[in-house]
Symmetry: C2
Subunit: 457 residues, 2 copies
């Protein structure tokens, strides 16, 4: 059986839900459908989740909720109308929203209440879609995550699944009807609704797919596939038809944003393959993500290239540093004590650099860290530079390909871009280059030309 | 004024000492001459220091010292004879050696006694050379390190200079005669003779040069210069006529062995330039080492290339490692707790490697470390591989040279060598490649061809 997840734009309107319905009908293996809240129909549209946050905040502030509530209901009404659902469907949505607003006085805190409000987006959409399925002859049922046993722990907005959930969800295998499952939230063992962090519906899909041991977790979104490079930088880049988890992870890290890579952990851990498909073009091949490569990829030794900006470099120099046992450890301790996580640690003989994401720094933490390094490590020199980008070349097995690093460095240099950092040696899957931010696009284009454009000409 | 140090082969025999004498006479600035113990005259010869160690050990074991003592005396006798020194010179050596053997019963411990014995090599040689200088008309004086105030601290065989020494040594500037100073040892504030670790006479020279604020520290040895690559791997490599301390450090690290790089710290710290010259070919330009480059080296963007074998890689993989604050620090803590010092730390997203010198490992420490990493860091995979070499391309300013990394990787790949690791990004002076040990010579040859052979053709 397959678990199929549809993102916000795939469930934003009646016509979109009809496409989804066709997709479900096409394949009898598509047995569990995880749905998001209605997303944007046009560029300037508002997501239902954002409308619900507005509604909840008005309630907390003691302002009138009438208009905000009406706006949410109107949005569901429009979907119900487009799908020609009976009026009871909308009445149920209204009742649900009133009940959630009524929960405000019972909630332990505002965050708990807000989780209830936000989850209404997916929950009501799942009910409407289940009703639509039944209307068009699919034997379908809405499944509440509490009933299904999607158990989580953690603070509001930051739920994480607990192992018992997988055990409970296994029972969904025995359901003969098509299950429509709302994404984005689960319940604690105390019965408190708690939402997942960013990528919430993707997480629900991955957990459910893992729980029922699905043969495939299909993730329907609004792009045909994952591309070998960012389409905002490269015109019409090649599609990736098959990649491994490791490749996906490395590319996500460097700015690939089709989905939030951490969301897929449950699928990864339970060895469920993931497929990225386009709701608006379901016949397109999409991108299949598996734990291991099925065959050698000799045509493209590189699977994808990516670049991410916003990196800083802490440079530290001390004569005879490499003879000082514990120097690197003490440096990392100070970085850690400022709550910073580092990305790379290139080292010379008498110097070392710590590369981290700039967003983690405040002016205070930056000054504090530099002062500590200077005072406590007795260094000869220490400073921070900002404005770097990390460019990654990713491909399973590339580590064994003689000449690949050379082709990549040559391509970047050929574009007149100076290499501030090269990191190869640990990952078997990637090669990372540090360049100045303003040169990142040039580097990406040069690498694309080297590894993809040449091959396909 | 210049401080001039002569190594073991430069003071191994009368004829060698005559060369040294000519060198001193050629330049009135050569005012302080630091000398080693007599080294090997031929390949199978025995160094006087080794003979003295044998003599000292026999004394400690209560064995007869007659033959060993006679051998040392004979060696000095041969030098004295070659230099036509009066018989008193040798009588003084004999008395000195007897006095040192007599110190055995007074020494606090065997190590202290052995330091006395070992230091006899330099000390007596300095006396003979001072006598020879006087004979040939150089107004010269033997200078005892205790009298000069070469103050040290630390255990026998592991002396390190204390700051007061520089203050005391400054007075040597006022000596009008040429000073002959024995290398290899100093005295603690309690008056105990203590020898330096490896590179002892180089260290003495650097300390004295720093103390008297010499305009140049000339280090005479038996090669014409430092070469851009190891002459055992590259036939007739180019000479390096000028390099910076940083370049020297990085090249020494990767197996350049003209001298022990740490020995030069005092000169480095006091900004005294160092010159490497050949006693047997003093007109050769030699190699000048300064803190900064005097001019742009556009002809050779690379100053030298070196390779060192005997490296191991600890590979660690854990899903989502890079989100785990403190992971790197904890890993380094375990490495440190095994008393290991690491060289490089290349990292991917979900994996990291620790590169260290294999010689530090025992089978026990290797197993202990792997077990700890597996148990305490909850990693998905962890293993150690041996048999790697680090190949370094060194050149001041190369970090800013677009295309240099590309040329280097291309050259190595062109030789069919796979790059196991590339580390660039911290040092402004070097680029490090990890390759399999068996491919290290190929990599070095390819780099030589790329950066030197091409240019000079």
């Amino acid at each position: 059986m397959k678990v199929v997840k549809f993102g916000g734009t795939s469930v934003a309107s009646g016509p979109q839900i009809e496409k989804l319905t066709n997709i479900v009908q096409e394949d009898a293996e598509r047995r569990i459908i995880v749905v998001s809240a209605p997303g944007k129909r046009t560029k300037d549209d508002i997501k239902v989740t954002d409308m619900l946050i507005d509604l909840g905040e008005k309630c907390i502030k003691g302002q009138s909720t009438d208009d905000a509530l009406a706006a949410v209901i109107e949005r569901y009404q429009s979907i119900a109308k487009e799908l020609a659902l009976p009026s009871e469907a909308i009445e149920e949505v209204e009742q649900d929203l009133h009940a959630r607003l009524g929960f405000y006085s019972k909630a332990d805190n505002d965050d708990q209440f807000m989780d209830q409000m936000k989850a209404a987006g997916e929950d009501n959409n799942a009910k409407l879609i289940a009703a639509h399925f039944s209307n068009v002859g699919i034997d379908a049922v809405y499944m509440n995550p509490k009933v299904a046993g999607l158990l989580v722990e953690g603070e509001p907005g930051d739920a994480s699944v607990i192992p018992e959930a997988y055990e409970q969800l296994k029972a969904l295998r025995d359901e003969e009807r098509v299950i429509v499952f709302p994404g984005f939230f689960g319940y604690t063992e105390e019965g408190i609704l708690t939402t997942f962090p960013r990528g919430g519906s993707d997480i629900t899909g991955a957990i459910v797919a893992a729980g029922v041991k699905a043969s495939l977790y299909e993730n329907f979104t609004d792009v045909d596939s994952v591309y070998v490079a960012n389409p905002n930088v490269i015109e019409n880049p090649e599609e990736i038809h098959h990649m491994t988890y490791r490749e996906m992870r490395e590319l996500s890290y460097a700015g690939f944003s089709v989905f939030h890579d951490v969301a897929l952990i449950p699928a990864f851990q339970h060895d469920v393959p993931v497929s990225i498909k386009n709701t608006n073009n379901p016949s397109s091949e999409g991108t299949l993500i598996t734990a291991r490569r099925k065959e050698e990829n000799t045509y493209f030794p590189v699977t994808g290239i990516a670049a991410d900006k916003g990196f800083s470099i802490i440079y530290v120099r001390k004569y005879l540093m490499n003879r000082e046992i514990g120097f690197g450890r003490r440096l990392l301790e100070m970085v850690e004590e400022e709550g910073l996580s580092y990305e790379h640690l290139p080292s010379g003989i008498d110097d070392t650099s710590v590369i981290l994401r700039t967003s983690q720094f405040s002016i205070d933490s930056e000054n504090r860290l530099i002062t500590r390094i200077q005072n406590e490590l007795g260094v000869d020199d220490c400073y921070i530079e900002h404005g770097f980008a990390m460019v990654m070349v990713v491909g399973e097995g590339m580590h064994e390909t003689v000449g690949l690093a050379s082709r990549a460095t040559q391509a970047i240099s050929g574009a007149g871009v100076n290499l501030e950092m090269i990191n190869q040696g640990s990952s078997e899957v990637s090669l990372t280059f540090g360049v100045k931010e303003r040169e990142a696009d040039d580097a990406l284009q040069a690498l694309y030309k080297e590894f993809f454009a040449k091959v396909t000409q």
